[in-house]
């Protein structure tokens, strides 16, 4: 007896793009008549092949296969349009696949969107019963869970008020509470944590973990990598309808975050020249940057660092003539362009003098950001090169890198998404 509860085999789904349903009844009848006689579709334009037009069809899912074991919490991640929601829709039987087959053991309850099935005119109490029944509970099951649901949702006082008078937060809390108290063998949850306040989100995550511990299976889509890492043992990465990776949550989220680093860890001269801004001398240039690279301590280029490893920033530049005062400034900025960290070559008094009256030639300088500096986020490197009052070259966000923060103390489970902070150095604490 195997403990596999979901088996997905070569699932594909395609959608027609553009206006669906613009065909007339007449066209449809022609088409049906032609199909009966085994003739090609007469309404297709000349040169257009059946079901094959690249322009007006899209494969939302392509040959997806995987298995899920009992009591596994499986995360599904991917960018918008990767097919995550389509996959969940097929598994929850809202829509049918174009080809392939899924086999499921046990009852599935899906929460693709919070609060569908609520009737605005009915009270909270009435809606709990309505929504519970829609999700497949019987009246007795709901009655048994009723108090728990109300307590979880924290809307106690308003339970006999029509839900149309609820605030959106109350609405969402009540809806999630109903779904979370279902007792299905398999729970499918689409990105529903985006709603509700932080405290409630945490409560929801906790509830889902509890569900997993009870031996039930959870499929969970989220853009919150912290939640995925925290909650799931395994994760799938979808990209453009295909299954790219099926691995541990950590590995999958790493790969996903890695994908988001659009640039490589090295900026070449060509790229630099394209992006160069600021005050640049065309005819009588002093300095030109040749190459920027991000390296780890073994000098491998990379752009996904662990928080506890150093980040080396290597700059290769050429002085086209001797420069009396060369200043290189590095800025680390976040995605909103806010500088959060900086350093200048002259900060290091040991070598500062080498940058005054630097002779013509090609140089390489390396700046090391010490380990245990950043929190788990994405960062961008901006570079300013100055010969004060003469030349000022600006390279904004020339490279991108991500830092993975796991917490400095391995004995402690660091909470939720709180590591998504820009700077988190390892500091000394004392207790008196």
């Amino acid at each position: 007896m195997s403990d596999i509860v979901i088996q997905v085999e070569n699932i594909s789904k395609y959608y027609r793009l553009g206006l669906v349903g613009t065909t007339t009844l007449e066209d449809d009848l022609h088409r049906a008549w032609a199909k009966l006689r085994g003739k090609p579709d007469p309404t297709l334009k000349i040169g257009q092949e059946e079901n094959n037009g690249d322009d007006d069809h899209i494969w939302a899912l392509r040959d997806i296969s995987f298995e899920v074991k009992q009591s596994e919490i499986l995360g599904i991640i991917g960018r918008n349009g990767a097919g995550k929601s389509t996959l969940l829709k097929i598994l929850s039987r809202v829509t049918a696949p174009t080809s392939g087959e899924c086999r499921v053991k046990g009852r599935i309850a899906s929460l693709l969107e919070v609060g569908t099935g609520f009737h605005p005119e009915l009270t909270g109490r009435e809606n709990i019963f309505l929504n519970g029944a829609i999700l497949g509970m019987t009246k007795d099951e709901i009655r048994k869970k009723f108090d728990e649901i109300v307590a979880f949702s924290e809307v106690g006082k308003f339970i006999d008020t029509p839900v149309k008078r609820y605030s959106s937060g109350m609405y969402v809390r009540l809806a999630f509470a109903v779904a979370a108290h279902l007792d299905p063998e398999i729970l499918i949850v689409d990105e529903v944590l985006a709603v509700g306040d932080a405290q409630f989100q945490k409560k929801c995550l906790g509830k889902m973990r509890e569900v997993g511990k009870e031996g039930r299976t959870v499929l969970f889509v989220s853009h919150n990598m912290g939640a995925i890492n925290n909650l799931c043992s395994r994760a799938l990465l979808l990209e453009k309808g295909r299954l790219v990776l099926d691995s541990t949550a950590e590995e999958t989220t790493d790969k996903y975050l890695g994908y988001q680093v659009v640039e490589s860890a090295v900026a070449t001269e060509e790229e630099i020249n394209k992006r160069m801004g600021g005050k640049i001398l065309r005819d009588f240039a002093y300095v030109r940057l040749k190459k920027v690279a991000l390296l780890d301590k073994e000098n491998n280029t990379k752009n996904l660092f662990d928080a506890d490893e150093p980040i080396q920033i290597s700059l290769e530049f050429e002085c086209l003539q001797s420069v009396p005062d060369l200043r290189l400034v590095l800025f680390i900025v976040d995605k909103n362009d806010t500088p959060i960290y900086g350093s200048q070559n002259t900060d290091d008094t040991d070598i500062a003098s080498k940058f005054s009256h630097i002779a013509k030639g090609v140089y390489k300088t390396v700046c090391v950001i010490p380990p245990n500096t950043f929190g788990g986020r994405q960062f961008y490197l901006s570079i300013h090169i100055l010969y004060p009052k003469i030349e000022h070259i600006v390279l904004n966000k020339i490279l991108q890198f991500s830092v993975k923060f796991k917490g400095y103390n391995q004995q402690i489970q660091y909470g939720g998404n709180d590591w998504a902070i820009n700077v988190w150095p390892m500091l000394k604490w004392s207790l008196h």
Binding site: S2, Q7, Y15, R16, V20, G21, T23, L25, D28, K89, I90, L91, S92, R93, V94, T95, A96, P97, T98, S99, G100, E101, C102, R103, V104, K105, G106, R107, I108, S110, L112, E113, T116, G117, H119, E121, L122, E126, F129, L130, A133, I134, L135, G136, M137, T138, K139, P162
Partner: protein, 279 residues
């Protein structure tokens, strides 16, 4: 490994109807029935009394227009009672038909987000219409007693016993046609507009404001081709003792209903799988 509870495949067989699911979700159906009933009368003053008032007003208007002004004969029955009888039965059929004809469109929000057997919605519409019928029926019986005390020639007879059967055919017919329309409206929205007209036209093609006996012989087939006609005629014959009762006509009605219902369920079953992609 053969003990999967559910296999999701691109296409189901035509007769894969999952009728067992309907039974499993009976609580949901009862809640839908209750929702239809409760939700439509929140924030109204008269509440469920509208179910009494609406047919009363219709019957009164018919009495004035068709009875007093147009003077259409009513087989010697008090006109008010005559119209009331036809309307009570007709309203049930019409409610089943219009209620089920728009379900895919009006429930697209829920259908797109959560799975439950889609057939629960039309079936619960039929059941909640039955509740409304019950109210109107009680009203009708009340008037029947009132008129018979006043000495009108009313002859209820044993055919009354097949009333549940008549209701069943009306429900099945309304459901069948309704879900055919609802399945087609996912692609052709025009049908939804047509339903309103269609139901009204069909009412005039059914002997409700006139008795069968008042229809000229050469047009009678037109009225008889309508499968609702024999049901209404039988209903009126059973309770008021006028009109016609023909087993053959009833059988015709029965067969038409079965065909339409089967067609409807099959079509519905096809559409429910993918309608989210086209609606």
């Amino acid at each position: 490994m053969n003990d999967w509870d559910l296999i999701i495949k691109p296409k189901t067989r035509w007769f894969d109807l999952h009728l067992g699911d309907l039974w499993r979700y009976r609580d949901l159906m009862m809640i839908f029935v209750w929702r239809d009933f409760v939700a439509s009368y929140k924030q109204t003053i008269l509440g469920p009394f509208w179910h009494l008032l609406a047919p009363l007003i219709s019957a009164l208007i018919f009495t004035v227009i068709f009875g007093e002004i147009a003077r259409i004969p009513t087989d010697g029955l008090p006109p008010f009672l005559f119209y009331m009888c036809g309307l009570t039965a007709w309203n049930y059929f019409a409610a089943c038909l219009t209620g089920t004809s728009g379900i895919f469109i009006s429930n697209a929000g829920i259908f797109g987000k959560v799975y439950f057997p889609r057939l629960t919605v039309p079936v619960s519409t039929v059941i909640s219409s039955l509740v409304k019928f019950g109210i109107q029926f009680a009203l009708f019986i009340g008037f029947m007693i009132f008129f018979s005390i006043r000495g009108s020639a009313i002859h209820p007879n044993l055919i009354i016993l097949i009333t549940p059967y008549l209701l069943l055919i009306m429900a099945a017919l309304g459901l069948g046609v309704g879900i055919i329309i609802s399945s087609l409206t996912t692609k052709y929205r025009d049908l939804q507009v047509l339903v309103g007209f269609g139901v009204q036209l069909l009412m005039y093609a059914t002997p409700i404001v006139y008795p069968m006996s008042a229809v000229p012989e050469k047009y009678r087939w037109l009225i008889l081709i309508n499968p609702v006609t024999p049901i209404i005629e039988t209903f009126r014959y059973a309770f008021l003792g006028s009109g016609s009762f023909s087993v053959n006509h009833l059988i015709y009605s029965n067969i038409t209903t079965l065909i339409l219902l089967l067609l409807g369920i099959l079509l519905f079953n096809r559409v429910e799988k993918t309608f989210m992609d086209t609606v």
